[in-house]
């Protein structure tokens, strides 16, 4: 790591304190943070859950292509009655359909949830990358150049944050989805997915930019930046080689907070009618459709809802642990 790591190296870790004898081994801040994270049982469980979901997210489209899971085949023989409700108990659970089938269409719910996880995580990750990218670049510029650049970026942030975000997410949909289709993205869901990623990413960057800017403002006064300047380092070198490595901690922590909110946002957009539409499954549109059967077919209502909840919870728990590990000041002041 860089020599500029003092930010979170100050506090020794109780769990990793060496025995009294033996030389004290030097550890980089990253090693310290990793050790802290490992010692946090809840965060580790959450991490395993996240890995589990990521594996599902990657595997689902492959399984779909191989025909192991099937999200689209209609099973009219498995639904019956006036509401076309699934036959059998608990929403038609059977060996072939471990979570039952959808009312009306009879599509396999388990497969649809798996593929829904793929889309939801892909959207959330892509939107987070956009938010981080924009936020880091603009935050760096604002914090380092200050003056006019800082002022204009600051006003732009104020402007974006003044918009009612959720309302804008859905209000912009008719305008922008069409524009995206015009640029050559296939009509329908591909355009909608592009729109959701773009708009979530765009409304998220101001928060990143603010945090990065504040960090840069304090870092640029530090001796190691001064030293680099004295040695004649170029601006770009100072920005990317000296400052950026010190910004990874806040970037990671904040990404872990933002990512699950993007998963929920996808669901909220589906609920409000501007999300991705079936037959492409997302946790949001499954939940949105299942709302109509909340009392008649609780399995159908609870399965996507609880999946969504567990995904978001895992990210939140891990994010908490990450914050404790990387930023010793937060949450652990006092007590210990």
């Amino acid at each position: 790591m860089t020599l500029s790591a003092g930010e979170f190296a100050a506090e020794p870790v109780p769990t990793m304190v060496d025995e009294a004898q033996g030389p004290v081994a030097g550890r980089s801040p990253w090693q310290i943070a990793r050790a802290r994270l490992r010692a946090n049982r809840v965060a580790m469980i959450a991490l395993f859950m996240i890995i589990f979901f990521v594996v599902i997210a990657i595997a689902a489209p492959i399984l779909q292509a191989l025909g192991v899971i099937d999200t689209t085949t209609l099973h009219p023989e498995l639904v019956q009655g006036p509401g076309a409700m699934p036959t059998g108990s608990f929403g038609g659970i059977s060996i072939h359909h471990p979570l039952g089938v959808e009312p009306q269409t009879g599509r396999d719910l388990f497969s649809r949830i798996l593929l829904g996880i793929t889309l939801d995580t892909a959207i959330a990750v892509a939107a987070t990358i956009i938010s981080v990218g924009l936020g880091v670049v603009l935050g760096l510029v604002a914090g380092f150049y200050r003056g006019a650049a800082d002022w204009s970026i600051g006003r732009l942030i104020d402007l974006i944050l003044a918009f009612p975000q959720l309302l804008m997410l859905i209000a912009l949909s008719p305008v922008l989805v069409q524009r995206i289709t015009d640029t050559g993205v296939p009509q329908g869901n591909p355009s909608k997915i592009t729109y959701i990623i773009a708009v979530l990413g765009f409304f998220g960057w101001p928060y990143f930019a603010r945090i990065i800017r504040a960090q840069v403002l304090s870092l640029r006064e530090r001796e190691f930046v001064e030293a680099a300047e004295m040695l004649g380092a170029r601006r770009s070198r100072i920005n990317f080689k000296e400052l950026l490595p010190n910004l990874w901690a806040p970037i990671l922590v904040y990404s872990s907070i933002v990512l699950p909110t993007y998963v929920s946002a996808e669901a909220a957009m589906s609920f409000l009618g501007v999300g991705i539409v079936p037959p492409t499954p997302t946790l949001g549109n499954l939940l949105q459709d299942s709302v109509n059967y909340a009392t008649a077919d609780p399995t159908y209502f609870l399965a996507p809802g609880l999946t969504l909840f567990i995904v978001v919870l895992a990210f939140n728990l891990f994010g908490d642990g990450l914050r404790d590990a990387l930023d010793p000041r937060s949450d652990r002041a006092g007590g210990k």
Binding site: D158, L159, L161, A162, F163, P164, L166, L167, M168, I170, A171, L172, S173, P174, V175, Q178, P260, S264, A267, A268, F271, L272, G273, V274, L287, V291, A294, T295, F301, G305, L308, F309, V312, L313, N316, L317, D320, S330, D331, R332, A333, G334, G335
Partner: protein
Amino acid sequence: MFQYVVKRVLSIIGMLILISVSVFALFFAVPADPARLTCGKNCTPAIIEANRHALGYDKPIVVQYFDFMKGLVSERDFPDDPVIAKNSPQSITHCPAPCLGYSATQGQLVSTMIKQAFPITASIAVGAFVLWLVGGIGIGVLSALKRGSILERGLVGASLVAYSLPTFFIGLLLLDIVSIKYGLAPPAGYTPFVDDPVAWAKGMILPWITLAMVFAALYVRLTRANMLETLSEDYIRTARAKGVPEWAVIVRHAMRAALTPIVTIAGLDLGGVLAGAAITETVFNLNGIGKTGVYAIQQLDLPVIVAVVLLSAFVIVLFNFLVDLLYAFLDPRVTL
């Protein structure tokens, strides 16, 4: 102080003008034709053209924008056409200032719709605000005082669970399971407070709980972190050492300092909810600002979309300002 207020008010006005310009530019670039939406099934191109002209949609966007802005301070007529005014004055809708426009789709003045919607949103916001503030801070303080206990873990865990549940999932669970299936809570609905305060509260209880659950979680975490930090301050030790009773140490010394930063977030959140709780209102079918906006977006009812977004932005910006003022009063270290 006075100078600060004047400066801020000017910058707010500038901000709102910027927002209104961008909203107009965005929404009037919508692919849908607002004039087409003014008449139902028996539509002929001639009627569409007549309506387009009568409602001013044939004018350039810039002119439409200034017409809208003029309407905020002076009255307007819809349709604004001397020929119609002469031949059939009864078909003219008069819009007194501040005029927010006319929804041809719904045949109503936008200001009338907003006037009907706002009390509903305000009722939801105020009750939920009280609930989440009291609940969130109470649980937060309690968990800080009981640090390390099972109670603390349970409370913090529960708040994280509530935080991870999507808003509409909580709302639907409450609505479908608690209210409809088991009849444990009265169904949601709006009765004006002045008509019957009891019925008002009864109809609002589920939306209040829904919103409060989502927000309270954040306050639990913030309050807890701030309390822990404050309790480790030297002045708390001093207070204890000089024999101040423990409750006074906690309430007067610790809570006062720990809760001041929360005022900022509480104010911003209240502003956000007052700008329209789209999801909660949609779940419980309450025609507040948020649902009015969502419905208008689904119908591509441009005048309503523009008005709702602008109004929401105004509320958000206003609350930003109020929070800064309030903070200066509460925290003696802040000077404006």
